[in-house]
């Protein structure tokens, strides 16, 4: 009996210390999420300006740029998967990886080769464990991405995009990341980064109409300078959304883990009290039985 009480006491102690960790991680995620959302908002003016400029150039000049031209035959596709560095974020990384697997299967089904690029240690671990190849991995700072990372990603992807298929180049590039819709809803999403589809927007009022721009230098050169930045901005936006989603997922996961720990502590406390009471009852009845036996003799 005494052994049982000790076991419960140990369980309560270990659950309590785990609960403290969950609580701390929840608080950290909560405090960082506001900043992550601010950064998403702060990157908007840049990406809006750049999107507007790209569509201005693309709609006004009949420029054929390699980045916007659809290749006749897509033989190899690149998939960039954005996961987190650390776990304890619920199904965050798992659902991105699941989405990526779907996409890879789909691309294979279309007869394309797939090269994967990974962001985050979780994706790396997933691919390493299964002994699968990936072209490159970026780790560190997935919960607070730097613009430099986006630039590096863009450089690598564009370099591979410019390479010939026979030398290992890719013909299209997809990105799998998590869209931050709200604090409770984050959905894995896929965007095709390259070749670019410049969206022709419906013009609602005359102020939205793009004026006829002069270009300096030539439109082709302007497009040359704009497109890499546009891609960078898209990648950076995806990284920022993924970071905000990661923190939100972690916060929710840690909240429910903490709640579960609380329930367990309550349950074990009841069981321990039961065991203690049972021990007392047994001791009493032994004493009474002993006294009875002495009286009878």
């Amino acid at each position: 009996m005494g052994a049982q009480i000790r076991v419960y006491r140990q369980k309560i102690a270990s659950t309590t210390s785990m609960q403290k960790i969950f609580k701390a991680m929840e608080l950290i995620a909560t405090s960082r999420i506001g900043k992550a959302r601010q950064r998403v908002a702060a990157s908007l003016p840049y990406s809006n300006a750049i999107t507007r400029a790209v569509s201005a150039v693309a709609s006004q000049s009949e420029v054929n740029h390699p980045l916007t031209t659809e290749p006749d035959n897509i033989r190899r596709a690149a998939v960039l998967v954005m996961t987190s560095d650390r776990g304890l974020a619920g199904a965050y990384s798992a659902s991105v990886l699941k989405q990526a697997e779907h996409l890879i299967e789909l691309l294979h089904g279309e007869g394309k080769d797939v090269t994967t690029y990974l962001v985050g240690r979780k994706a790396q671990a997933y691919f390493d464990f299964r002994g699968r190849d990936y072209a490159k991995v970026w780790t560190g700072g997935t919960d607070a991405p730097e613009f430099e990372t986006a630039r590096e990603l863009r450089k690598t992807l564009l370099a591979d995009f410019a390479t010939d298929f026979d030398e290992g180049g890719v013909d299209e590039i997809h990105v799998v990341y998590t869209q931050f819709k709200s604090m409770v809803v984050q959905e894995p999403a896929v965007i095709r980064l390259l070749p670019l589809e410049v969206v022709e927007e419906e013009v609602e009022s005359s102020s939205d109409l793009l004026p006829l721009y002069d270009f300096e230098p030539k439109p082709e050169d302007v497009l040359d300078a704009l497109l890499p930045r546009y891609i960078e901005a898209r990648i950076f936006a995806a990284l920022l959304q993924a970071a905000a989603s990661e923190l939100a997922a972690r916060q929710r996961a840690m909240k429910s883990a903490g709640d579960n720990a609380n329930d367990l502590i309550k349950k074990y406390t009841r069981l321990r009290n039961n065991a203690r009471q049972a021990e007392i009852t047994q001791e009493l009845s032994e004493i009474v039985a002993g006294a009875d036996a002495l009286n009878a003799s």
Binding site: Y46, F147, D214, E216, P217, R229
Partner: protein, 96 residues
């Protein structure tokens, strides 16, 4: 006379916005000055100093290392990879 409505944004943050009478900078072709009423323009920005003259008569500089800018109907949007306000500038007119 109408003023220019200037907005400067960097990749990951907002830098400055406000009314100005003149924006001077370098494109890949050479120096360019924008006054109110400039024809719509989309140009590639070369690394260097941008000079901005806000309406209050002061003058300040922004160091940029590449980017582009667009001008249309007195609205100047400067999109820089990295932009650093040089001293003398107050972000008071902006909403930074």
């Amino acid at each position: 006379m109408a003023n220019l409505e200037v907005e400067i944004v960097a990749a990951d943050h907002f830098v400055w916005s406000g009314a100005a009478t003149l924006v001077k900078g370098f494109t890949s072709e050479g120096e360019i000055g924008i006054l109110p009423g400039h024809t719509p323009l989309l140009a590639v920005l070369a690394p260097g100093l941008l000079e901005i003259a806000p309406v209050d008569g002061s003058r300040f500089f922004v160091e940029v290392d590449g980017g582009f800018f667009s001008v249309d109907s007195n609205r100047v949007v400067i999109v820089a990879d990295n932009a650093q306000l040089k001293d003398g500038a107050t972000s008071g007119a902006g909403i930074s």
